[in-house]
Assembly symmetry: C2
Homo-oligomer: 181 residues x 2
């Protein structure tokens, strides 16, 4: 018989997700998380090697989906790339709102960590896709406005239902992006 094992690991993960989404990664201490779970800080570090490992495990599913989107983007150009990137990213951002929220303002720093090794390049390819692979500065500017705007909006509207948020975001994307010439 398996020992009636406590679910502390999962509880810590869940509490960390909630706290990170509100106060950010740097802004949340291991003490905060331990308090939310009702255990000691040492227990948190018993279940996770360090704070970074906690973050990695939390972000893994979102990053997997992001990589899948990147794969679907390969070889596309122009309006097709814009459409795939738009639908794909809106979908991802809505589904992983909490994970996006915890990145707020810490994106550049967190990209340095090994767990996010490829994310930097992927986000650059995403911007290029939003720009319809155009080199025009105005297209790239529009792409960044859309990308960053979606992310921030998803992090902000953390409680409204998916089926309300998603179509509204998609409508904005389709209006905002520069048409490919």
């Amino acid at each position: 018989m398996a020992r009636a094992v406590p679910e502390t690991h999962g509880e810590i993960l869940a509490a960390a997700a909630r706290r990170f989404a509100v106060t950010g990664y740097k802004g949340t201490s291991l003490q905060d998380i331990a308090r939310a779970v009702g255990c000691s800080k040492a227990t948190v570090l018993y279940h996770f090697a360090n704070k970074e490992a906690l973050l990695s495990e939390l972000m893994a599913p979102a990053i997997a989906v992001l990589e899948a989107l990147d794969a679907r983007l390969a070889g596309t150009t122009g309006a097709t790339a814009q459409e795939i990137a738009g639908e794909g990213f809106v979908d991802l951002a809505v589904r992983f709102r909490r994970q996006i929220a915890l990145l707020r303002g810490e994106f550049p720093d967190l990209l340095q960590q090994p767990a996010f090794a490829h994310v930097q390049q992927i986000s650059e390819r995403l911007i290029a896709a939003f720009a319809g692979n155009s080199d025009r500065p105005s297209a790239r500017i529009a792409a960044l406005v859309v990308l960053a705007g979606i992310a921030e909006t998803c992090a902000e509207f953390i409680d409204i239902p998916d089926e309300e948020l998603r179509p509204a975001l998609l409508a904005v994307v389709r209006r905002a992006l520069e048409p490919v010439t």
Copy 2:
């Protein structure tokens, strides 16, 4: 004759602006700023009562312009409000790119500080204006995407010339906002 006074105060302010824009407010220590200036941390605190005072003095001009925009917004509705908010905010964001950059991800926290007492309400009125004073969720979502997207984009493109950034942003705004019905 006035004593040949050192310009340390201004140098600290300038260095702080540069450091804050790169590593954020919380992410920049007084030690960092002192090192950039070439003085001691105690000197920084001799010229400024505390870290918050440094931030306040840095943000004051931007907040003044924001308040002026808010005043111009009073009494406007629909497409007029959208146009004034769009032009006004793009202009502000481009001019005060460094100040916007230092707010990245710390906006909610920093709003608590006394120096930003009114900014919360002003930004809510700005969003309402971007939405053309419509209550429809999709209009408010589009408004937030535009507002946050502009801010983030300005913080990101810190080096390209104003005359390239401004028209591109204005074009995105005009495309992206939901037309008033």
